[in-house]
Amino acid sequence: MKKRLYFILLGFLVLLAVSPGLAAEDVEVNAVVSANKIGVDDTLVYTVTLKGINNPTQPDLSGFNDFRITQTSQSTEFRFVNGVSSYYTNFIYYLMPAKTGTLTLPPVTYEYQGKEYKTQTFKVEVVQGSASPPGQQTQPRRRVPSIFDDSDNFFNSPFRRSQPREIDIQLKAEVSKRKAVKGEPLLYRVLLYARNRVQSVNMASNQSFPGFWQEWFPVPQSINSKGGQLDGKTYQVYEIRKAVLFPTQAGSVTIPAIKFELGLVDDGVSLFADPRQVFRSTPDITLQVAEPPPQALGLPVGDFTFEVVPDKKEVDVNDILTLRVKVTARKGNIKTLEIPQFENTDYYKIYPAKITRDNGFDQNTLSGTAEAELPVSFKKTGLISFPALELKYFNPDAGIVVTHKSSAFSIKVAGVKEKQEGGVTYAQGEIIKKGEDIDFIKKGAIYHQEDYYYKTGLFNFLMAIFFIFNILFLLKLYVFDRYVARHPALLKKKLLNRTINRLNLVRDYGEISPILEDYLKEKAGLGLSEINSHSIEALFSKHQVNDIDIKIFIRIKSASELSRFAPQLAAGSAGAAPGGDTNDKENGNTLAHDVKQLIEILKRIDGRIK
């Protein structure tokens, strides 16, 4: 009995081991061409069929040097043969020959699960012009690929042969609900009704809707169409854009029109011609948006789940634990959702979270996840508990406030808490991952610390300027003042200049005399008591100063003394001076005139008096 059971079990195990092989579908890779002879202007259709491969990648046609791929498409099908189902994927390539002659299509190699599959080689004869009889052209002529290429094949549609010359295209917009609650997700779709062949669609206006948070679905690689009726006429209907809108304000809110630029292709016109551009706009749509009920005010709107998961159950007190708070939105705006957070306690410290938010776009729904990674450091050892977190939201479909609670959990914290050296505390947000200091990086402003000011041109220029100034100062102090300035010639020159400068500053006639006395004292070495009219005349005569200059000099000096000691007599005396100008005196310019004369005389006699 035991032996029999053993054999049954063994047989069962062998069957289990072999069954995947039996169950595994045969994999085949084949290729076919639409013709063996084509014209250089014709298109050859090359189809690679993969059997038994789910989600296959595109075969590599890089070895097709004699042909240019103008268009590709892909189709899948199930076939049932004798009760066995097979899964086929067709990759269809439209090829244009590059030259005439007998051209070779090399085998295509396809690798699947480590095994290589090869198609056969084809030889195609390419002749001048077109090899197809009129009306039997091979697949599409050269035209610009469009996002509508993978649609329900426009070429097989009933509109192809009856392509209207006039433009018959309309844009419609639909929204999933006309009455909504603030924050509730609404599906907004833009539909294109076309009886012309459309090659391109571009949004020509701003897609921002005031009063809504919007999440646009990605623009699809290909757009499927279906037949539709509008005003009693049949159209091809394309869903060209869609978005999920979240109303952000209550009341009557309008989704404004969006303008699109459409590129149309006429069958009757040259295939190389540029598409005709037409513009169409969606109609405005007005919604009634209500505030959520009072108990739901401020809560997120939609349908959410959430969980809190620690990365380990036991941790050393000096280690960092990471808590992952993950919120999943089956419906709702994950971008604006506030993720529940833990609060710091005496047992642990929560650092700022690293938060990631991702949207998921399904057929007609927007889902999403938000994940917060919270680094936690512990202050104490033992079994440390974390409380349950709570997420409240308003479910608009059920009209109720839903509360989700995570489970409370405990972490076993062991070890001895190390004292931080120097009381170093790291800025919040610097903790990136658990671990030692090697995991922390430094944030904040940086600059070039080795861009030294003393190396700049400005610094060196200023220092050089001041250095030169200091050198000049020292030269003046120790060379010029000591040796140059004391030279007799310079001293004399200096005396004359000083006297002239003093005379120029005279404001009263009486000031002239002391200046002249100082001059004569220094120039001729006369004592103050020796300076009188006679001694001056004798001195000047001795040095061949002319008589007129002597007389004027003495007259001005005498007048100055008179003005100094007897001001009331000064004018009369000055007026009696020889050589005086009566008109000037009358004009009150005696002082300036006499000073000028005196300066002229000094300049003349200064060189003569030794």
Partner: protein, 256 residues
């Protein structure tokens, strides 16, 4: 000379001096954005990517935070020798930052050579403290300012004549200029010295003299921090501690 003109000139020179210094300090320029970008990459665990960005920044900037973060990236990517080099570079620019020393201790655990480096004496520590408080740029600006003040006093002395205040002003500011100028020269000289290095090549030997013919005294491993004492052709005399010193080829080490 007109008083107002003198005041304007003095203010102008002061403004030029200060703005010139500030330009150096505030020249963060375009690397801040890339620095933040690298931080994000580091946060995502893309250490090699973050390192590439930091290395790009390093071409135009040197800051202790940059070198610290580069040290972390090298550590994370398993290049411990380079990690140590960059921690030491960070330490050179900010000698008393405790987190740098901590990371040096962590990376040192990866090296086989456990040589206790020489501890700086009291005066050296004081000098290092002063250096960390007064940066070279601040010192340059202060020097320029006291030179300007000295020259203002000289100018007044020449223009207005001697008096006690001006004479004391010139004398005092001259002494300050000489003291700060001397310290500035010391600091700039030290700046160009760069006498710290790390052994980077395996099987390195410290010899008794410069040249292959000299006796091998010690075998040292990559990651060892040494102080360069002297240079002779392609050989340098280094010391790792008071007991470990010798001559090694210069290309076996990298200066900090």
């Amino acid at each position: 000379m007109n008083k107002r003109f003198i005041y304007i000139m003095v203010c102008l020179v002061l403004a030029v001096t200060v703005t010139g210094g500030a330009r150096v300090l505030v020249a963060a320029g375009g690397f801040q954005e890339r620095f933040n970008q690298a931080e994000q990459m580091y946060a995502e665990g893309k250490y090699a990517g973050a390192l590439a960005v930091y290395r790009d920044i390093e071409k135009s900037a040197a800051h202790w935070k940059l070198f610290y973060n580069m040290g972390n990236c090298y550590y994370k990517t398993g290049n411990f020798v380079r990690a140590k080099i960059y921690y030491l570079k960070a330490e050179r620019l900010n000698p008393f930052e405790p987190s740098i020393q901590k990371n040096i201790d962590i990376v040192d655990k990866q090296f086989s050579d456990k040589i206790e480096g020489e501890k700086p004496d009291f005066l050296t520590r004081v000098a290092l403290h002063i250096e960390s408080v007064i940066s070279l740029n601040v010192l340059s600006m202060v020097l320029l300012l006291v030179v300007i003040i000295l020259n203002i006093f000289i100018f007044l002395l020449l223009n207005k004549g001697k008096n006690r205040f001006r004479l004391y002003g010139v004398s005092f500011s001259l002494v300050i200029v000489l003291v700060i100028g001397g310290y500035h020269i010391y600091r700039t000289g030290k700046q160009g010295l760069r006498n710290t290095a790390v052994i980077v090549r395996a099987d390195s030997e410290l010899r008794s003299g410069p040249g292959e013919n000299n006796t091998v005294l010690f075998k040292v491993n990559p990651g060892l921090k040494v102080k360069i004492i002297e240079k002779s052709r392609s050989w340098v005399q280094v010391s790792a501690s008071s007991q470990v010193a010798g001559w090694v080829e210069e290309d076996r080490l990298e200066r900090i």
